[in-house]
């Protein structure tokens, strides 16, 4: 066991997979010698050399296209898109190329790659460097979508993503890079498509992702101590595949559902979960499912404004209390 940061977990995860499999290669802008814009890949260039860890031009389409061509022909590339907002300039690969190649070719073409990218707000970077865009990817058949909230999950889910035969979009949260937690020694490999119940409870289910997970846990703690409300907190971890069984099982027990989403309101991932619960567990519910999201606005840059728009532990506490009538 050792305490490591989420940032160092990224490096350790990539190193674990590169050491295991010579087909794993890593490319992106400023990722090799400089160690990444967020310093999440420091040391990989030194450890694995410039043939396996490569800096690219500022060419997001070339980065993702090259990753795809390499994946189709036998490598297991990890490609970095520096900020997830930049997915918009290479969305063709995410929307049209990676996820459709296998289907359109009737199973001939494979695309085992990972796109890792820094997602989310909290750095006061404004509307083009702070977005949570996991829902841009969740809507596309053929992709898998992962967003870990802790160092151990970064390692385990990255390993699972690299070993997965399908294209995986791996969202790291930039406000979690400095967070630390205990991580076991040795190889760590997790399973995609598994949610984790981080806190058991009986009064309501709170489903969260990435940065919203520690906020949901903090809210749950305050709700218990200050208001006697016992919340179950689920970290979704993987949007595709989606572990609906864990969520439905929890709702069957608590009878209330809250989602905590950083993405803007419309078509956020929570809407899909609420829809599934409404379809399949309507009679388990004692009240309407409630979505706690960022409002449907571009993100403001100033700290006091950014802090107001993201779901906070206080907002989660207030919303849960109001909904449960306590």
């Amino acid at each position: 066991m050792a305490e490591i940061s989420y940032r160092d977990a990224v490096t350790r995860a990539i190193a674990q997979e590169m050491a295991r499999d010579p087909d794993v290669v890593f490319l992106g802008e400023d990722v090799a010698k400089p160690g990444g814009c967020f310093k999440a890949t420091v040391g990989l260039y030194e450890q694995f050399g410039g043939v396996r860890v490569r800096d690219t031009p500022i060419s997001e389409q070339a980065i993702l296209g090259a990753a795809m061509g390499a994946a189709m022909t036998g490598l297991k590339p990890i490609a970095e898109i520096m900020f997830s907002d930049f997915i918009a300039v290479c969305f063709d690969y995410i929307a049209n190329e990676f996820p459709k190649a296998r289907y359109m070719s009737n199973g001939q073409t494979k695309c085992p790659l990972v796109v890792r990218t820094a997602n989310g707000a909290g750095s006061r970077f404004g509307a083009q460097h702070s977005q949570s865009v996991e829902n841009w990817c969740m809507m596309i058949p053929g992709l898998k979508v992962v967003a870990p909230s802790s160092p151990v999950d970064v390692i385990g889910l990255m390993a699972a993503a690299v070993r997965d035969p399908d294209p995986v979009i791996f969202f790291e949260h930039k406000s979690l890079y400095n967070s630390k937690a205990e991580v076991p020694d040795g190889e760590i490999v997790d399973t995609l498509g598994t949610a984790k119940i981080l806190r058991a409870g009986t009064d309501c289910t709170i489903v969260a992702l990435a940065l919203m997970v520690p906020r949901a846990l903090e809210a749950a703690e305050r709700l218990r101590i200050d208001h006697g409300i016992d919340c179950e907190v689920i970290d979704v971890r993987s949007l595709v595949p989606l572990d609906t069984r864990t969520i439905l099982g929890s709702v069957a027990k608590t009878h209330r559902l809250f989602t905590v989403e950083e993405n803007p309101r419309l078509c956020g991932w929570g809407a899909e979960i609420v829809s599934i619960v409404a379809d399949e567990a309507f009679y388990d519910l004692d009240g309407p499912p409630v979505r706690i999201t960022t409002p449907h606005i571009p993100l403001p840059a100033a700290d006091i404004m950014e802090d107001v728009v993201l779901p906070t532990p206080q907002r989660i506490v207030d919303t849960v209390r109001k909904s449960l009538g306590s």
Partner: protein, 344 residues
């Protein structure tokens, strides 16, 4: 015909140079006739409503597909566009498989799941046909990167149109390939038009690909894309360079499509006489004459034409008799486990 030949590559324009040899010449001829007949058949079947959706033919452009494919070795990889039937066939994919896909039958290359714009046959080195302009140039770079990384000797060959040179992915890919010295060959088929707009209206230089090569430190290569010998020799030089680890090439091939852009486009936007002028430089007539000049007998030529016709006729009949694909494949192969499950 004003055609500029590349000076750096040697005498690629001299047709009467006997370096190619009769066996290869007959293969180049057979391939071109096969592409012509198959595309003509696809058009006829389209008019009979037996080819559904869309189709983008390479009628008039056969020398490029044939010339490059004949210069490729087993293991070399082709990346094509929606105008990809010819490139797919030229790698040896059976006519029946291609027509079957166009006719949306169960015997099609992808059993109807891809359609005419996405022909793929990995066993023949056809790594997909891409319908988003420019998307496959970076993808070809990736395949070339794998070859470079592993020390494999195959080359990635990427075909695209003149209009594609104006999209960002073209510039990202050519720059990337040049900087990483990748074994990829970019082949611009300049048929003078995008869909309906002449390329000259949308570029500030005369040649869409050749005149951009210098920006990426590459040689300016502009060839007669209707002369299969010229194409074949140019391809060999570029492949040799790629296999030697000397990096990418960007080759602009001048050509002309005899049909419209897609489906039954009557191509009314073309100036009068332009098609006729290009038909005088038809790649197949040109090559038939070439064979005669080298002393190939008319019977040999006729035999090739007849056997190709039979292959296309037989393929057509097989496709007409083939069933539609079963509906249970609608949800297969979304994910690598063979299915489409996104939840438990």
């Amino acid at each position: 015909m004003s055609t500029t030949y590349d000076l750096t590559l040697g005498p690629v324009g001299s047709g009467l140079n006997d370096d190619i040899g009769e066996e290869k010449r007959l293969a180049l001829f057979r391939s071109q006739v096969r592409l012509r007949d198959s595309e003509q058949r696809a058009f006829d079947l389209f008019l009979q409503n037996l080819v559904k959706g869309t189709s983008h033919l390479s009628l008039g452009q056969e020398a490029i597909a044939a010339g490059f494919a004949e210069a490729m070795q087993k293991g070399d990889l082709s990346f094509c566009t929606y105008r990809g039937h010819a490139h797919t066939l030229a790698r040896g994919v059976p006519v029946e498989k291609v027509l079957g896909e166009l006719m949306q039958r169960d015997n099609g290359l992808m059993r109807g799941k891809g359609g005419s714009m996405h022909l793929t046959s990995e066993e023949h080195g056809v790594m997909g046909s891409y319908a988003i302009i420019g998307a496959h140039l970076p993808i070809a770079c990736g395949a070339a990167w794998r070859a470079q990384y592993r020390g494999d000797k195959d080359v990635a060959v990427c075909f695209f149109g003149d209009g594609t040179t104006n999209i960002g992915a073209f510039h990202e890919a050519v720059n990337f390939a040049a900087v990483w010295k990748l074994p990829v060959v970019f082949v611009c088929e300049n048929n003078l038009y995008m869909e309906y707009t002449p390329i000259k209206d949308v570029i500030p230089i005369p040649q869409p690909a050749a005149d951009r090569a210098s920006a990426y430190g590459l040689e300016r290569i502009l060839i007669d894309g209707n002369d299969a010998d010229v194409v074949y020799r140019t391809a060999q030089l570029a492949f040799g360079k790629a296999r030697a680890g000397e990096g990418p090439s960007l080759i602009e091939c001048l050509t002309y499509r005899h049909s419209g852009h897609s489906r039954a486009d009557p191509a009314k936007y073309r100036p009068e006489g332009e098609l006729e002028k290009w038909k005088e430089h038809d790649p197949i007539n040109l090559y038939r004459e070439r064979l005669r000049q080298f002393g190939v007998k008319d019977e040999v030529i006729a035999e090739i034409e007849a056997s190709v016709r039979k292959e296309v006729d037989d393929a057509t009949e097989a496709c007409k008799a083939a069933p539609s694909p079963p509906l249970d494949i609608i949800t297969t192969d979304v994910y690598a486990d063979g299915g489409w499950a996104w939840r438990n």
